[in-house]
C-alpha cells in the first residue's frame, strides 16, 4: 500500500549526558590523592638535595675558602628551614619509593610470585644500614 505522506524521518536519540568537571582542587578532596600529590612534589626536594650535593662537591674542589662560603650559605635560616622541610620530603619519598617498587615488580621464583615485603624489606634494610654507616663516619670523634 502506498502512502502519500512522506515517511517520518527517524530521529536519533541524543541523550543529554551530565558531565561533571574535575575540580582544580581534586587532590584536596581525598586523603589518598593528597598523599599521592605530596609524593610527587617530593621529587622537587630530591632535586634540591641533588643540586645542593653537587654544589658542595664543586665548592670543596675549589679549596677551603669556597667551602667555607658554602658552609656559611648553609647557615642561612631560610636554607636551614628549606633543608629541614626537604629532609622530611626525602624520607617520605624514599619510604613511598620502596613500598611502590614492591608493587611495580613481579618477580617469580618457582612459578610463585615473591611477596612484596621480600622486595621492599631488603631495600629498607640496605637504606638503614647505609644511613647508619654514613652517620657513624660523620659523627665519630
Amino acid at each position: 500500500m502506498k502512502s502519500a505522506a512522506a515517511p517520518t524521518p527517524y530521529t536519533l536519540n541524543h541523550p543529554r549526558w551530565y558531565r561533571k568537571r574535575v575540580s582544580t582542587y581534586w587532590w584536596l578532596q581525598r586523603w589518598e590523592y593528597l598523599r599521592f600529590v605530596l609524593r610527587e612534589i617530593s621529587s622537587v626536594f630530591i632535586a634540591w638535595f641533588v643540586v645542593l650535593t653537587l654544589v658542595q662537591i664543586y665548592s670543596a674542589s675549589k679549596g677551603p675558602n669556597a667551602y667555607g662560603d658554602f658552609l656559611e650559605f648553609l647557615k642561612n635560616p631560610f636554607v636551614v628551614a628549606l633543608n629541614i622541610i626537604s629532609f622530611f620530603f626525602v624520607v617520605y619519598h624514599s619510604i613511598t619509593w620502596f613500598n611502590l617498587s614492591a608493587r611495580a615488580m613481579s618477580i617469580r621464583v618457582g612459578g610463585k610470585k615473591v611477596p612484596g615485603f621480600m622486595i621492599s624489606g631488603p631495600n629498607f634494610v640496605a637504606w638503614f644500614v647505609i644511613s647508619a654507616v654514613i652517620a657513624w663516619l660523620l659523627l665519630r670523634r
Binding site: 541523550p15 543529554r16 549526558w17 551530565y18 574535575v22 581534586w26 589518598e32 608493587r103 615488580m105
Partner: protein, 247 residues
C-alpha cells in the same frame, strides 16, 4: 538499633534537570541488606523511576558499581550495616558522563578496551583435531589475577588521571591487555605494544595506586601497568643496544 536507614541518592533526569541533585529515602535497615537491596526496595516501594544498573547481585557481572559515600563500590557487596546508623550517599561512578540517576555512559571504556585486543591472538591457529592449547599451573598463575577483572569500572572512577585526561586508556583496559600478553597461549604481545606504549596508555599512569585499592576482584591494575612500563623500557633499551636483534 534503628529499624530504618536514610539513603541520599543522586537523581538526574536529562529531560528536566540541568544538574543532579540528592533525594532522600528511608528504607528498612536489615543486617543482611546491601546498598543494592536498598535501591531495589526504593524502586519497588517508593519511587519506580529510580534508575540504576544491576544484574547478578553477587559480584560477577560488574554492573552495579556506584559511589557509596564517595568511594567506588560494587553496591551488591556493600552492606548497610557497615554504615548504619549514619545515612548513606549513593552517586553514579565518578569520571563518567551521567545518563540518568545512577547510570553512567560506558562507551568510552568499551572503546578503549577493544583497542587493547583483549582476546587470544595466534599466528598459527592449530586445527581443532589437535586439541587444546595446554597450560601448566605456573603458566596459568602468571595471568590469572588479571583475568579476574569484571569490567565494573570502579578503577576508572578512582583514577584521577582518567578524570583529568579522558584520553587515558585507564587501569582495567591496560590490565586486561597485560592479561593476554602474559598468557602462554597468546602471541599478540607485539600487536598490543604500539597501543600500550603510548603516552595515553601506560606512560599516562602516574601510579596513584587507587585503582588497585578499590578493585573488588584484587586485579591490581596499578601493578600491571608498572610491570608493563618495565617491559616497554627494556624493549626500548634492547632496540637501542641491539638494533640488529630480531624484532
Amino acid at each position: 538499633m534503628a529499624d530504618t536507614i536514610k539513603l541520599e541518592v543522586s537523581r538526574y533526569s536529562p529531560e528536566t534537570d540541568a544538574a543532579p541533585h540528592f533525594q532522600s529515602f528511608e528504607v528498612p535497615f536489615r543486617r543482611d541488606w546491601v546498598v543494592l537491596d536498598a535501591l531495589n526496595y526504593i524502586k519497588d516501594k517508593q519511587d519506580g523511576s529510580l534508575t540504576y544498573r544491576w544484574s547478578c547481585r553477587m559480584g560477577i557481572c560488574g554492573s552495579c558499581g556506584m559511589l557509596v559515600n564517595g568511594e567506588p563500590k560494587l553496591t551488591c557487596a556493600t552492606f548497610l550495616a557497615d554504615y548504619a546508623p549514619q545515612s548513606i550517599r549513593v552517586e553514579p561512578l565518578r569520571n563518567f558522563p551521567v545518563i540518568r540517576d545512577l547510570v553512567i555512559a560506558m562507551n568510552d571504556f568499551m572503546r578503549k578496551l577493544q583497542k587493547m585486543k583483549p582476546w587470544l591472538i595466534r599466528k598459527d591457529e592449530k586445527p581443532v583435531s589437535e586439541g587444546e592449547y595446554l597450560q601448566t599451573p605456573e603458566q596459568l598463575e602468571a595471568f590469572k589475577q588479571y583475568s579476574m577483572c569484571i569490567n565494573c569500572m570502579l578503577c576508572y572512577a578512582a583514577c584521577p588521571v582518567y578524570g583529568l585526561d579522558p584520553l587515558f586508556s585507564g587501569p582495567a583496559a591496560i590490565a586486561l591487555a597485560q592479561r593476554y600478553n602474559l598468557d602462554s597461549r597468546d602471541q599478540g604481545a607485539k600487536d598490543r605494544f604500539p597501543v600500550l606504549s603510548q603516552h595515553d596508555a601506560i606512560w599516562g599512569c602516574t601510579f596513584v595506586g587507587e585503582c588497585t585499592r578499590v578493585c573488588p576482584k584484587h586485579v591490581d591494575p596499578a601493578g600491571a601497568i608498572q610491570q608493563y612500563k618495565l617491559t616497554a623500557a627494556l624493549d626500548w633499551a634492547k632496540s637501542v643496544l641491539m638494533p640488529w636483534g630480531g624484532k
